[in-house]
Symmetry: C2
Subunit: 505 residues, 2 copies
């Protein structure tokens, strides 16, 4: 074939050489851009244009073909829409590596940056295993659900449907039903106007993240700290700075504030997730003082507050912040009633409640009415507080049982933990030679799911720590689970990280 | 006071002149930066440093004071944390205009860009008025809730609590309970793996936005179109491009695709919100063909599909997309059962369901179990379909009633609409001399809330349109509401936009 090339730039030259066609021979379709699309499409299909082949700049190709630049722009856009080429700002347009030949549609190319970055499925995995009857899960933080007051719940539901049926079915205010906000305020503090009803603490953290965090902002978070909070902050593009929660040094915190100028501090000061530790009153006062001095909002996760086994718990940061200006408190019924209910609340200054509600309407115009009304009813008639007393007693019993069983089934030093005074978790340190991930894999292969320390750090920590929820399994099941954990520790105990993984996985 | 100035730059010089203190006389606190903070703080408090006063560059001030630059950096950061000064990249640090003297905490300065941009409270306002017993709301799109099958719902709740109590309280998979996904798939199409359970269509739109949209991406949306979708896309920083829904020209759509290279098309093709119009089968086929050609994902909102008054409805885009690759269908029980339940579902290719679930876990680890199980039960036992038949009959009756009443209470030409064959809305055009906002204000002052066209456009349209939901009020109430609307039209009918606003508000 006689190829007559006009004078074009090197890349354009290359295109026509590869396609073995002269610019003047390109079919003039109607519309013209379709001819160009066809030409390049055929070139890719025949292999003449290999993946990575750089296409001419739009201007150059337009000149070579004697068409308007807009025509080439349209052609390139269509090719890109079809996944055949990909443009990079400042670099040019290239034949795509993998035109999805089998599928008509390349979904991967459609996913947003935030979604692609958000690949961590830890929470989902916890949800899945928690719902799997074939697996004993010590991973999810769940109270003793076998003690859930089913009859009282059913009676409250009947009451609500009998009395408030119209309210139940209709739309409701984004911030929550007023009567429910009043009940929550009376029982847990704050003014009804300062209460925002949410579908669980995780929704609250996500709303707070969206309201307070811009990409690149720093946030200070307990280290180790709640994995769901870490995940929300990271997906929002925040720089997550860890504050050593077990040391809880105010000097360290002040240094971090000065160095990173954070947008907020997220902490879970009472029966902390994952460590089970409670910050003492002195540290709490210093935290508030520091937050006021540096005008640093504190997001206080008080999810575990009501779960003390008897010892008095220091006042919350929210209560210590007497002016009510620097602390936003997040709370949930997941750990004191049942996670399946999906109900929580935030207590915060009105301006923040208002801002959060404006964000909330976009993803959730309002929280389900029935569950709001039923739980408010359980609080009003005293069922909630009676149930809390039941949980505290039983949780303590289960804690003691698991501590005993772990001592029985593990070698001394293989598993170290501080016995917590409340909450749901044992935070266990393994030997430095034991990889938590190997223990997790082995235990799962024997039907026991536990969670390693890594998701609570996200910066390389946690490789030798595991978190066990001691509240949600009956003692007989806990006994078996502890024996599996003991076995896992023995199997993985003498290995280093890598070796452990290699041997077990 | 004898002021001895060392040689520093002009701005630094100015600072010390204003403060009437020599650099050498600045108190050396421990830590040193506190002395600087104190100095400037006092200067601001005394008025010596006025709002807008530019502080020296950190380096210059450090040189003048003979301290490390880091010391000045720390001082400026603390001052900024306290809201006393504000730094602008490339311009310098300035005394803040309004140190919040009364409040110890300046929340406004803490709010993220996205939250500040997201000031539209239309959905919240709709929720509030819908929940207000003193207001007749024709704004919220709500089915006839007075016909809700309360007894069947209560029976289904009893059944679920009796049989599936453990499932109800515990954690559940993020994507929804398997049995529920099976029921939804069987009744509404798709494979159970292709169903994602959500807390209403709005959550689905928000998840899709977060999964598919990067800041700056273009999206094509029905114009007019659902305000909640517009809001989600805008908050995500998308460029929202309107496609004229009533013309529904495929050529226009192709032009928009070529010009804007959109990330997705959002459309609500059946009994559309707000127009009530249904796209014909030919347009639907062309839409699919176009989407495949340009590899453009279609988000199909099928919220109103089941609400036909009798006429056959063309197949959904989801069903026409036989390979099941380009359409993501969003659905909800809000318009067919009750919005207060907060339940919906998405049907989409598995990869998308998976990606959506990974995003969902962050704001909502799973949807409430009880409502999932109860609604699946209502579908399984046939209550759902019987209720749909009841709604269709009654909704048609209420449509006819409202059409009659509007004709009676308004002058010819004051209110024009196409009588819809299904759905919940009358989309009414006013005279060009009638401002919808004035009509809205007047009606609200008489206890009737309706929504104007503006939130459905967001680009200046809708000033002479209103949307009325005809399904959610009893005929006697509708009669009164229509008479208020007639009065409002008479009051506002002869005025231009501005004059109307001035006269009424």
């Amino acid at each position: 074939m006689a190829v007559v090339l006009t004078k074009v730039d090197q890349v354009t030259d290359g295109l026509f050489r590869a396609l073995r066609v002269a610019p003047t021979a390109v079919p003039r379709g109607r519309p013209m851009y379709r001819g160009i699309v066809q030409l390049i499409d055929d070139g890719i299909a025949s292999g003449a244009l290999a993946p990575g082949h750089r296409l001419p700049a739009e201007r150059e190709l337009a000149r070579a073909l004697k068409v308007a630049r807009a025509t080439v722009v349209s052609a390139y856009r269509e090719l890109e829409s079809r996944g055949l080429v990909r443009g990079y700002v400042g670099r040019g347009t290239f034949v795509a590596a993998q035109p999805d030949s089998g599928t008509p549609f390349a979904w991967r190319g459609k996913i947003s940056t935030a979604a692609i970055e958000s690949t961590d499925g830890t929470l989902r995995e916890i949800m899945r295993h928690a719902a799997d009857a074939a697996v004993v899960s010590l991973a999810a933080g769940t109270p003793a659900l076998d003690l859930f007051p089913v009859d009282s719940f059913q009676a409250a539901t009947d009451y609500v449907l009998g009395r408030h049926s119209a309210v139940t079915w209709g739309h409701a205010p984004t911030e929550g039903l007023l009567s429910v906000r009043e009940t929550f305020a009376a029982r847990f503090g704050g003014d009804p106007d300062e209460v925002l009803v949410i579908a669980g603490a995780q929704q609250g953290l996500e709303l707070l993240t969206r309201c307070l965090i811009d990409r690149g902002d720093a946030v200070i978070v307990d280290r180790p700290g709640y994995l769901g909070a870490l995940q929300s902050f990271r997906t929002a593009g925040a720089r997550v700075i860890g504050w050593d929660f077990l040391r809880a040094s105010i000097d360290e915190l002040e240094d971090l504030i000065l160095r990173y100028r954070p947008k907020l501090l997220y902490t879970n000061p009472t029966f902390q997730n994952p460590t089970g530790v409670t910050l003492p009153i002195r540290t709490r006062r210093e935290l508030i003082e520091l937050a006021r001095r540096y005008r640093l909002p504190i997001v206080e996760d008080e999810t575990y507050r009501e779960l003390s086994f008897g010892a008095a718990v220091p006042p919350s940061l929210y209560d210590l912040d007497e002016d009510g200006t620097v602390v936003i408190r997040v709370n949930s019924f997941s750990k004191v009633l049942a996670p399946g209910l999906r109900l929580g609340w935030i207590t915060a200054p009105r301006t923040i409640v208002d801002q959060l509600a404006t964000m909330k309407q976009q993803s959730d115009p309002h929280t389900q009415n029935l569950v709001q009304l039923v739980i408010a009813r359980l609080i009003d008639v005293g069922v909630f507080d009676r149930h809390l007393a039941v949980l505290r007693t039983e949780h303590k019993r289960r804690r003691d049982h698991m501590v005993t069983q772990l001592a029985r089934s593990t070698a001394p030093g293989a598993l170290r933990f501080t016995v917590p005074d409340g909450g749901l978790f044992l935070w266990c340190r393994l030997r430095q030679t034991t990889a938590a991930s190997a223990v997790q894999s082995y235990a799962l292969s024997r039907g026991v799911f536990l969670i390693t320390g890594e998701p609570f750090y996200r910066d390389g920590g946690g490789a030798h720590e595991i978190r066990l929820c001691f509240t949600n399994v009956l003692p007989a099941v806990a006994t078996k689970a502890c024996s599996v954990i003991g076995e896992a520790l023995r199997r993985c105990g003498e290995t280093s990280d890598e070796a452990g993984l290699q041997r077990i996985v």
